[in-house]
């Protein structure tokens, strides 16, 4: 038993260091000869995996933070408090890793501050840049109490408490803007993005699907934490999140198909080709949990609930990659398959997220919130 556990942990440690080594190699390649050596990006296909997955999915997967913060602080549903801090930690880590990915993807990362002083309010990217900066700051402040409680910063803690509510409201608004603006980015390419994904509703659809994946991630991370730390799973809470997830997913899919029908593009769903296939995959991964999670029997079983949340997460990732990659290929007249170094860097970033989450949860009061 203990040898098995030992082997298991050394296996994951080895995987972790291999991923980190490959990621460092990829990052070195990116910073020394340039983006062209580390990626398969071209003039015709300037955004790849790092934007499509690391940034677009990273921001979405962090949505559990603002969902839970709003639930507990605005809607005053205090029973959700036990899973609030893990959700904030996930969101904060997510945003930090998104910034890491941006520093890799930007051609001139040392100029990232330019967006602070050289304004162009007509650019969605300008809105995105400000949302990233401001919301990361908000998340840092929302996460700070866990650190201050541990290391005894009574005065700053008191200050933070007094601004909690305005901070929470600003955070929820920034999240709303940020999640939707990632969809707005693609409003400018009606001639390049496939009609299965291009719609004037992109901002709204991105916001709704981010809400879905925020809930799914909260279920996902609670399940993993309970296994890793031998903690009791908050089944009634997750049951509630699961029910809300079913409702949100159904609303999202209803809007998605109504929009396709109204734009008279519904027939493309069965048009043979890679796009329709990937659309089917995305829809199935979001649709199955939408149906299953309406069944109380499924929601009561942690493993089934976890499976549904995981499917929804995969469906969300499929949707973002379809917008950023699948849907853009035909319109750009090119094909994009990420270079292995792009994948290596991405995996290393995910590994870094797990590696920081574990000690943070272990050493900081994340699962044992002090009463306020």
């Amino acid at each position: 038993m203990s040898t098995l556990a030992h082997w298991r942990s050394s296996f994951w440690t080895a995987v972790f260091w291999i991923l980190v080594a490959a990621g460092i190699y990829g990052a070195t390649l990116r910073y020394t000869p340039g983006l062209g050596s580390a990626t398969h990006l071209t003039d015709a296909f300037p955004w790849g995996l790092w934007i499509g997955f690391d940034v677009m999915c990273g921001v979405g997967l962090a949505a559990g933070g603002f969902m839970l913060v709003a639930t507990v602080h605005i809607f005053n549903l205090k029973r959700y408090k036990p899973i609030l801090r893990p959700a904030i930690l996930t969101a904060f880590l997510g945003y930090v890793l998104v910034i890491v990915a941006l520093l890799l993807d930007l051609g001139r990362p040392e100029r990232i501050w330019h967006a602070l002083v050289m304004w162009n309010p007509h650019s969605v990217m300008f809105e995105v840049a400000w949302c990233v900066m401001l919301y990361t700051t908000v998340l840092a402040l929302e996460f700070a109490p866990s650190v201050l409680e541990k290391f005894g910063g009574a005065t700053p803690l008191r200050w933070l408490r007094t601004i909690t509510i305005p901070l929470v409201i600003v955070g929820v608004i920034l999240s709303t803007l940020h999640q939707s603006s990632l969809g707005s980015l693609y409003l400018i390419v009606p001639n390049k993005l496939h009609p299965l994904w291009y719609t004037p509703l992109l901002p709204l659809l991105f916001f709704l699907s981010a809400g879905c994946v925020g809930l799914a991630m909260t279920i996902f991370e609670s399940w993993h934490s309970s296994r890793a730390f031998g903690k009791q799973l908050e089944v009634p809470l997750l049951n509630g999140l699961g029910r809300l997830l079913a409702v949100l997913l159904s609303a999202y899919l209803a809007l998605r198909f109504t929009d396709l029908a109204q734009r008279r593009e519904l027939s493309r769903v069965i048009e043979p080709g890679g796009e329709a296939y990937m659309f089917g995959l995305e829809t199935a991964l979001l649709g199955l949990p939408a149906v299953f999670l309406f069944l109380p029997a499924i929601r009561r079983r942690p493993a089934a609930l976890y499976g549904c949340a995981f499917m929804a997460i995969l469906g969300f990732v499929a949707n973002r990659l379809n917008v950023a990659v699948t849907g853009m290929e035909a319109g750009s007249g090119t094909q994009y398959i990420p270079k292995w170094t792009e994948i290596a860097v991405t995996l290393a970033i995910i590994a870094a997220g797990f590696a920081v989450f574990r000690p943070a949860v272990k050493h900081l009061p994340i699962f044992e919130p002090v009463e306020t």
Binding site: G34, L106, G107, I169, I188
Partner: protein, 252 residues
């Protein structure tokens, strides 16, 4: 007055003098191998494309309402009063949204540089300002490419079409595409046969994102009121419950 360019595919002989003049102006290398590359790139800011016996040209279209100007987060692109769309490499952070967004797929990136820039034709801004033609139109031996005042060039295009109606497809490419451009194409055949994008909307693209962006202040203010309101209601309820004494607080 606004500057423009007219490219008449029926007169182009594919000599590529425009390409080499452009390379010389930018200090870029030019030889037969680069000449054979029939697409624009970071080291080739204009290109002749062969379509059987016909030729077409690629270069920045210098849109009336440029998409690149609207999408750049740091305002590295600017449309000058004269018409050229120019780029300031010192501002650029390298997000490459301009490459993604340009309806004509014009901007190129220096993918193998450690300090990469976006490259694209600048319509020979400094030459045009001094009243001279662009380097490419000066080099063109057949008047296939000419540059000058927009109104005069459009009149010239119409004159050529009226003089030899059989030689021309009866439309000018660039008048309406994505809200209109400063580079106009004439051709003997429909423009899609020159691989030009004829599916572009007539409206300028920046309006598409502005419709969403202009909602930001509304969402922010409505959101603040809504969230503040919900907070007040839910916490007021709790207070009332406390005061009435009967309520059991359900603090976890």
């Amino acid at each position: 007055m606004s500057k423009a360019m007219l490219f008449d595919s029926t007169l182009c002989i594919g000599c590529r003098a425009c390409e080499s003049a452009c390379a010389e102006k930018w200090g870029l290398p030019y030889n037969d191998r680069i000449g054979a590359e029939e697409r624009i790139s970071a080291h080739k800011l204009t290109a002749i494309k062969t379509h059987g016996e016909r030729f077409s040209r690629r270069l920045c279209m210098h849109c009336a309402e440029p998409t690149c100007v609207s999408v750049c987060p740091v305002g590295a692109f600017r449309k000058t009063a004269d018409g050229p769309v120019v780029y300031d490499a010192e501002k650029c952070i390298g997000c490459r949204y301009c490459l993604l967004a340009c309806p004509f797929s014009v901007p190129s990136y220096e993918w193998s540089s450690r300090q990469p820039r976006v490259r694209k034709c600048d319509f020979c801004e400094e030459r045009q300002e001094a009243g001279r033609p662009t380097a490419c139109s000066e080099a063109c031996p057949t008047q296939a490419t000419i540059s000058g005042e927009r109104t005069a060039l459009l009149a010239e295009a119409k004159r050529r079409m009226a003089e030899k109606p059989a030689a021309y497809y009866p439309r000018i490419y660039g008048l309406k595409e994505a809200g209109g451009t400063s580079v106009f194409f004439l051709s003997a055949v429909p423009f899609e046969q020159l691989d030009l994008n004829t599916q572009l909307p007539d409206e300028p693209l920046p309006g598409l994102t502005w419709r969403a962006l202009s909602q930001v202040p509304n969402i922010a203010s409505a959101g603040a009121v809504l969230l503040g309101g919900v907070y007040w209601i839910t916490h007021r309820r709790e207070e009332v419950r406390k005061h009435e004494g009967g309520g059991k607080e359900r603090l976890s």
